[in-house]
């Protein structure tokens, strides 16, 4: 399943997509959990009882602001979450 967390507002589209099929057999040791400096990810049991990564509820409406420190202006050339997730489950829309 592709789970899209985020929103669209007047300034743009801010979504983090997680391909949860890759989380079920995570080959990165749940690296997303430790990689994000804001601790934005958590492992949940989804509606089909699979253990998958999700963006925590409290960050879902403020991604543009919360991820700002990792985006190019913040000095990172690649995003910590995307780099840590070697299966390639995480994508950002902006």
């Amino acid at each position: 399943m592709i789970a899209n967390y985020g929103y669209k507002d007047g300034s743009g589209e801010y979504y983090i997509s997680i391909d949860t099929d890759k989380c079920i057999v995570c080959e990165a040791g749940r690296a997303c959990l430790g990689a994000c400096p804001k601790g934005m990810f958590e492992i949940i049991s989804d509606d089909y009882d699979d253990e998958v990564a999700a963006v925590k509820q409290q960050f879902r409406r403020s991604l543009a602001f919360d991820c700002a420190q990792c985006k190019p202006a913040g000095g990172y050339t690649t995003l910590p979450c995307v780099s840590a997730c070697t299966p390639g489950a995480i994508k950002h829309s902006w």
């Binding site: 399943m1 592709i2 789970a3 899209n4 669209k8 507002d9 589209e13 509606d47 829309s93």
Partner: protein, 300 residues
Amino acid sequence: MAETAGEKKEYWRWQENCWIDESKNWRDAKIITAGIDVGSVSSQAVIVCDGGLYGFNSMRTGNNSPDSAKNAINGVLEKSGMKLEDIHYVVGTGYGRVNVPFAHKAITEIACHARGANYMGGSQIRTILDMGGQDCKAIHCDEKGKVTNFLMNDKCAAGTGRGMEVIADLMQIPIAELGPRSFDVDEEPPAVSSTCVVFAKSEALALLKAGYSKNKVIAAYCQAMAERVVSLLERIGVEKEFFITGGIAKNPGVVKRIERLLGLQAVQTKYDSQIAGALGAALFGYTLVQKQGVPNKAAA
């Protein structure tokens, strides 16, 4: 009925609905399950007998989730002569899903809407747009109604039932009339420019002052809602067949404009579009009982 002095007419008030299938006798059913969808604006209870829809109650959400859940189920229990103890499994869904006191399990509305749409629209449904009271969801599912992709906008009320209620009150036109009246215009106006309900309200007032008829303002607002939800849908793509759930599915002014923008017709259903979430929850309950058996004691 004439409005008396001091009495405020509630233009936003939509039709509550309680129904049971008189052709069925629930006492014949081997497995009875219920789904309770406690949303921010409306609450539904659906009863499923042996995997088929038996009855439902759809009403406005009250002051708190537990009472809303009880009121919703009580309506359909009273109408059918059933007792809560006769129900083998209850699944809660919606934003108040963890506060349904008699539920055995909570499942998100995303999974439940997909499952409900699969029942209501058929196994060919692949894209679901749920326009709820205060959020909007775009969902892809497979032939079994299992979610494969989803997106949810709950950041603002634009494109939602609450937004439409605000416009009904502002225009002083009953909410059920908004859709038909939006087509009663000389020419289709451009959408109101703001997607925010608060600004759309002031923009609507400005348009009225500028000489727009009420119908034209409603048309501009329906178009804005349609454009907003279509942009949400486009993010995940629209695969055939396409189905709309939630209260706004009953508003042809928005539905027809969505269809026009997508170049695609939504699948019609004989069921009430507002019960999709609760129906999906009850169907999840049915599958769980089939797999795991009846739990020892009702959660109530």
